[in-house]
C-alpha cells in the first residue's frame, strides 16, 4: 500500500465518518437517555436528505448560497416536526415496554416512513449538488477533492461533538439530560419532568440524523432506501462504541469510516463486510462496546 492510497483513503474515511458520526451520535443519545433502540432514526436521515435537496432545488435559482441555510433548515425542520411527532404520539406509548416490542414498532415506523418517502419524492434519483459545487476543490496528491467533503463535513462533525460535550457538561439542559439518563425517578424527585426531557432529547437526536442526511444530500443521488444503509451502519458504530457513548461514537465512526475507506481502496469486495466485522469483533470481546460500561440492573 503506497502513501497515495493511505492519504486518499484517510480523506475519504474521515469524510464518511463525519456523516456516520452525526447519525450515530443522535441514535446513541436517544438510546442513552430513553433506552429505546430507534430503527426509525434511518428515516430521519433520509427525510433530512430529501428535504435539503428539495429546498436546495427551490432556492438555488435565487442564489446558490441559500442552499447552505437550506441544509440547516431541512435538518431542524425534519428533526423538530417529524421527531417531535414520533416521540409525542408513538414512542411515549412504548416507554418501559419490552425492548423487542419497541424495536418492532420503530422498525414498522421506519418501513411506513420509507413508503411515504416514495409517495412524496417518487423513486427517480434526486441530485442537488449546489452546496458541493460552491466550495473550491483541493488537490491532494494530484486527486481533486471538494473542500465540502474534506473540510466542511469533518468540521461540522467536530463542532457537533464539541457542542454536545459543552451542552451536556456545562448547561442546565445538559445536566437535566444526564440526571434523567442516570436515574429517571431520582430526577423526577428533584423536579425534573422526564417526559419533557425525552421529547427534547429525541428532537435533538432527530435533528442530528436529519443533519447527517442534509449534509450527505449534495454528495450523492438520493434514492429510496438511502436510510437503510445509514441506519445499519450507524447501529454498527453506536454498538461498537457502546450505546449512549457520545465521544465513543466519534472514535468508533472514525475507526469504521477509515476501515471501510481502506477496504474500498485495497479490497473493494470487502467494503460492506469490514464495518460489521469490526462490530462483531468488538462485541465478542466487549459486549458493552469499546467505551460502554456494564450497568447494574436495579431489582
Amino acid at each position: 500500500m503506497n502513501l497515495t492510497i493511505v492519504v486518499l483513503a484517510a480523506l475519504d474515511g474521515i469524510s464518511y465518518a463525519a456523516l456516520v458520526f452525526l447519525v450515530s451520535v443522535g441514535l446513541s443519545l436517544i438510546f442513552g437517555v430513553m433506552r429505546i433502540v430507534n430503527v426509525a432514526h434511518g428515516s430521519l436521515y433520509a427525510y433530512g436528505a430529501y428535504a435539503a435537496a428539495t429546498i436546495g432545488i427551490a432556492v438555488a435559482p435565487i442564489s446558490p448560497w441559500l442552499t447552505y441555510p437550506g441544509l440547516l433548515l431541512a435538518a431542524i425542520g425534519v428533526g423538530t416536526i417529524l421527531g417531535g411527532l414520533l416521540e409525542r404520539f408513538l414512542l411515549r406509548l412504548v416507554y418501559g415496554r419490552d425492548e423487542a416490542l419497541q424495536l418492532l414498532i420503530t422498525f414498522a415506523v421506519f418501513m411506513i416512513l420509507d413508503n411515504l418517502q416514495r409517495v412524496i419524492w417518487g423513486v427517480q434519483p434526486i441530485f442537488a449538488a449546489a452546496p458541493l459545487q460552491l466550495l473550491p476543490n483541493i488537490s491532494v496528491l494530484g486527486v481533486g477533492y471538494t473542500s465540502y467533503q474534506t473540510l466542511l463535513l469533518p468540521g461540522v462533525a467536530a463542532l457537533t461533538l464539541i457542542g454536545l460535550r459543552y451542552f451536556l457538561r456545562h448547561t442546565l439542559g445538559g445536566a437535566v439530560i444526564l440526571a434523567v439518563t442516570e436515574d429517571r425517578e431520582a430526577a423526577t424527585a428533584i423536579g425534573i419532568n422526564p417526559n419533557r426531557v425525552f421529547l427534547r432529547t429525541f428532537i435533538l437526536g432527530a435533528i442530528l440524523a436529519a443533519l447527517g442526511g442534509a449534509l450527505a444530500s449534495p454528495t450523492t443521488s438520493l434514492l429510496p432506501g438511502i436510510g437503510t444503509e445509514m441506519i445499519v451502519l450507524s447501529f454498527a458504530v453506536a454498538a461498537t462504541a457502546g450505546l449512549g457513548q457520545i465521544e465513543g461514537a466519534a472514535i468508533a465512526a472514525l475507526m469504521i469510516g477509515l476501515a471501510r475507506a481502506f477496504a474500498i481502496y485495497t479490497y473493494p469486495e470487502f467494503e460492506v463486510l469490514v464495518p460489521y466485522a469490526i462490530m462483531v469483533l468488538v462485541l465478542l470481546i466487549r459486549p458493552q462496546g469499546l467505551f460502554g460500561a456494564t450497568r447494574l440492573r436495579r431489582i
Binding site: A175, V176, A179, E182, E185, T188, I190, G191, I192, N193
Partner: protein, 234 residues
Amino acid sequence: MMLALEQVRVSIAGVVVLRDVSFALEAGSTVALVGRNGAGKTTTVRTIMGFTAAAGRILFDGADLARTPPHERPGLGIGYAPEDRRLFSAFSVEENLLLPARVGGLGPAETKRRLERAYGVLPEMAELRARPAGSVSGGQGKMVALARALILGTKLVLLDEPFQGLAPVLAQRYAEALRRLRSQDRDITLLITESNPKLLAAISERTLTIERGEVAPGASGPALPRADPPILSR
C-alpha cells in the same frame, strides 16, 4: 394537617401493596413509619411522591396531590431521600445539591440560603462538596441524599430507611443531623421510615406501624413517649 393519606390503595403487578392506608401528619411533626421489610414503607413514600398509581386521596397542605404530577411535587416543598441514595454520579456532591435549586428556578440568594441550611444541618457535607458523588461512601451518600432533600423540602421531608446499612458512628451523626434540623426548623414535617422502631425512638414524636400494607388501627394516635438521650438507641 400538612399531609393526609385517605384510604390509599396501591397494587403492583396485581398484588395489593398498600391496603386503604390512612394517616395524617401535623405541620412541624416528626413521625416514624415502622414495619418489616416488604410491609409497604417504601411504597408509601413513593406513593406520596407520585411514583406509583394509587387509589384514595393524598392531601398536602389541604390540596389533593392527584392533580399534581410527580415532577411538580418537589416544587410544593416536598423533599425526598430514597433508601438507596440515588445520587447523580455524573456530578459532584455540591452539584447534586444545586441541581434541584437550578431546576426549580430558585434565585441565587434563595439557592445560597437553602445550601447554607443544608450545610448547617450537615456540616460534614462542606468537606465533601467537590467530591464526585459516585465516589462517596454509602454512609456519606445517605447524608448527601438528606442534604439534597433539604434543598427542596421546605415543608415536608420524606426519609426512606435513612439508617439502613449505616455504621453506628454514621447513624449517630445522621441522628444528630436530624436533631439539628428539628431545632433549626420547627415548622418542617418529617416522615421517616425504618424497620427497627428502636432506631427512631429518640427522634420521632409519633410512630405509625405498617404491616402487610396496612397501617395499624390507632397508629395515628398519640406519640410514643419521647426518649431523651441517648440520641440513638440500637
